[in-house]
Symmetry: C2
Subunit: 274 residues, 2 copies
Amino acid sequence: MPKRTVFFVSDQTGVTAETMGHSLLTQFDGLEFRAVTLPFIATLEKAEDARARIDAVAAAEGLPPIVFSTLVKDDLRDAVKAGRGVFLDFFEAFLAPLEAALDSKSSHATGRAHGMADLAGYTARINATNFALANDDGVHTRDYDRADVVLVGVSRSGKTPTCLYMALHYGINAANYPLTEDDLEGGRLPAVLAQHQAKLYGLTIRPDRLQQIRHERRPDSKYASAQQVAFEVRSAEALFARYGIPFLDTTDCSIEELGSRIMHKTGIERRLRP
Amino acid sequence: MPKRTVFFVSDQTGVTAETMGHSLLTQFDGLEFRAVTLPFIATLEKAEDARARIDAVAAAEGLPPIVFSTLVKDDLRDAVKAGRGVFLDFFEAFLAPLEAALDSKSSHATGRAHGMADLAGYTARINATNFALANDDGVHTRDYDRADVVLVGVSRSGKTPTCLYMALHYGINAANYPLTEDDLEGGRLPAVLAQHQAKLYGLTIRPDRLQQIRHERRPDSKYASAQQVAFEVRSAEALFARYGIPFLDTTDCSIEELGSRIMHKTGIERRLRP
């Protein structure tokens, strides 16, 4: 079965169109798609070019491509819509009911969703990113006073990317501490963590998955052995249970989902608007 | 004018609902909103709770709140929709036309958009994140062979968060190199960059903004002085011009926009699906 072509067309980065389209397409099991993003379609000329590309695919494949669009301006939207794609525009669908509900006209201005970062938001993001970098991997622990959350888990359980995601997406201070063999054998929280127990959040992972991940990093090492991995995961989970530290299994979770669940369960307030 | 309450309701993380809602709300200048995210509404009981919260706000404020929803399952969606909010559901709007276009029934399964990360995607993301961390701030340069892009700019021009964003969002290897005073005074690319000239992408920033950012970091330092900042920005831009390095001004750009523009202009292929 040939892959159906899908376009994401936007006057901006295309991130919203991609997010929207991807959410919808994952509802169709068994179909395969070829994705083409056309960002920064901000002039009529570019909109005509986009239309021509869509029409060329329609002609070549004999089927209209799917077009997810976030075009705010009517003239640009009309130009792309006139093509031979199945046109699903996000603003077209929702702007009219929203105008009615808010009793207000929309500005139909492009470039708002992700552009024009305000200084406060930018600063929050940068500060949070720097915090995550400085407090990665338990290297520094003196900043835990300023942490919103400290992720705890064994090596390669997903702490670093989750911290960075939470910094970039929510602007919060997320540190992480890898449980060492000493911590795990002793079965006690190290003093530096015990002082900040309310901020701790555990990450765990299924041993077979952890083994796969570690094996890719250091093939056939003790670090990646079934025995070592099983010991570490079991000991970490016992530690979480002993100290009442909430934890999540990262095995089948995306980083977005981990970040969102931790925010939700801890009640930490985001410092960046969505 | 009181803030209008906006709910983001999702059976998953709420990231898609937030992205969608935020894009739309930024089209309404002058209105202010209070945002409440209700993630993981995955049972009928939770959907009824969400509805009760929406109704309570409607009663308290005398105006129906706006509800952006990404609820895949019909029964959950119906439960929330029965409340007193202005209900805008993303799957309701698009799933039917998409089913027709694809001549296929959607699975109406939750938990696809961001959940269930596949191992290949997870590995790409982790590897890219580790690459960005290891190659941050010019500390290591020996990995530039494996870089997809090397961001170049003066201190605090936005390199680090942009690299991390590109790693997490696109799974690509993004390194960054801060131009030093020596590089800038000499007006020449350091040898380590000259070898990889095709991978370089410059970031610049408006001097007044850079001064603000640096002042927050080191108040009243030479580093944050008008003279120093003006010299560095001018010299960096001259270097970009001299070597034909493409560059972007980060002053009014969000990190998402920077990442997207760099991907678009360089043609680097993403290693993660949207």
